[in-house]
């Protein structure tokens, strides 16, 4: 398979199904010079799911909801991973310690509640959603449960460091896998199972997530600078949170440009 074909295959399925033939013909004509533009196009499309070809504005909002959920979960993971390294502690009001992580979690949950599609209230829909959720989430839940059982069984300081690190790694793999699978679960629910959020609610939820990422990203970056030698993990986390805020901002702009009806 040629490089051009491989690059075209990186586009999201709905985009490729609609525009793939013309895109590939145009790229073949351009030869290797078109590859950077194709790559930028791939990134652009994955960051803007509302512009993928869709049957209705509701389907576009559903895709924006999945992106917002993915962004919220990525931010939650990054923030908790950094906090567990004990690298985000600040004196006084700016302390991003356990108490402030609770605030972060509460705001994330509020944002998630606003952007999440509403389930259709029927037994059939609930059963279908449960089946899909169990199928997708079984592995990360079992892995996480296994770590909890192992820790409670006595993986303490007496156990070799390699084993403790292995258990810790399994915990974070379970969380990351769970986040990815949760997004897949929500993306897999069709219009027969869920109703995408209305534009106003979706924009409010994405706006709340954006505001939180800007605030926490700025505080984390500020913290890492205040303490003299910048801590790499804190800088990466702060910058990552600001990138997530940008993604939320682009989604807000895309939602504003969608037709209001539907």
């Amino acid at each position: 398979m040629s490089v051009t074909k491989r690059l075209v295959r990186l586009y999201p399925d709905p985009f490729r199904e609609h525009w793939g033939t013309g895109l590939e013909a145009e790229a073949q004509d351009g030869g290797w010079r078109s590859w950077p533009n194709l790559l930028i196009g791939v990134l652009d499309m994955w960051l803007h799911p509302t512009v993928w070809p869709a049957r209705s504005p509701a389907q576009r909002r559903g895709r924006a909801a999945v992106l917002a959920i993915a962004v919220a979960l990525a931010g939650w993971l990054a923030e908790h991973a950094a906090a567990e390294q004990h690298s985000l502690h600040l004196p006084g009001l700016l302390r991003i310690g356990e108490m402030n992580l609770d605030v972060f979690d509460a705001v994330t949950l509020l944002g998630l509640a606003l952007v999440a599609p509403r389930p259709r209230l029927s037994f059939g829909a609930a059963a279908a959603m449960l089946r899909q959720a169990v199928r997708r989430l079984a592995v990360p839940v079992l892995l996480g449960a296994g770590v909890v059982v192992t820790v409670h069984a006595g993986v303490g300081t007496s156990v070799p460091l390699a084993l403790r690190l292995g258990v810790l790694g399994c915990w974070w793999i379970a969380l990351a896998l769970g986040a990815v699978q949760l997004c897949q679960v929500v993306a897999g629910f069709g219009a027969d199972l869920t109703v995408p959020p209305h534009r106003g609610r979706l924009r409010l939820g994405v706006g709340i997530l954006a505001g939180m990422f800007i605030l926490t990203g700025a505080v984390v970056l500020g913290t890492s600078m205040v303490r003299g030698v910048p801590d790499t993990l804190s800088v990466a986390t702060g910058a990552g949170l600001l990138v997530l805020a940008s993604v939320c901002g682009w989604t807000l702009r895309d939602l504003r440009q969608l037709p209001a009806t539907g």
Binding site: W19, G22, G30, S34, N37, I40, G41, D44, W52, P53
Partner: protein
């Protein structure tokens, strides 16, 4: 302005009637001297369709022609008038006759 440069070029290429992606890029090449990259061209088409400014006509073989909607025509006219106003003002300030 409501649309970006590449989107304005695509709308201009569609002003004469429905065409498919390759023909749109050929029209843009005639207009500007260079083709848009494939990612830029089809990204612009996807955005314009999402905004309701263009609509597909159904597949014709391997081609997928699109046409301007009424809203797309109105937006293009507004964009072009705005650009013409800016261009005329700029040329006047340079001491060049806009005509």
């Amino acid at each position: 302005m409501q649309v970006k440069d590449s989107q304005t070029l695509v709308l201009c290429a569609l002003a004469d009637g429905p065409v498919h992606g390759y023909a749109i890029n050929t029209a843009i090449e005639e207009l500007t001297g260079e083709r848009l990259g494939p990612g830029s061209l089809y990204g612009a088409l996807a955005r314009l369709e999402a905004k309701g400014l263009i609509e597909p006509l159904g597949e014709q073989g391997r081609q997928r022609p699109v046409r301007l909607t009424e809203q797309g025509r109105a937006v293009l006219e507004r964009e072009l008038r705005s650009m013409a106003k800016v261009a005329a003002a700029g040329l006047r300030r340079l001491g060049v006759n806009p005509a």
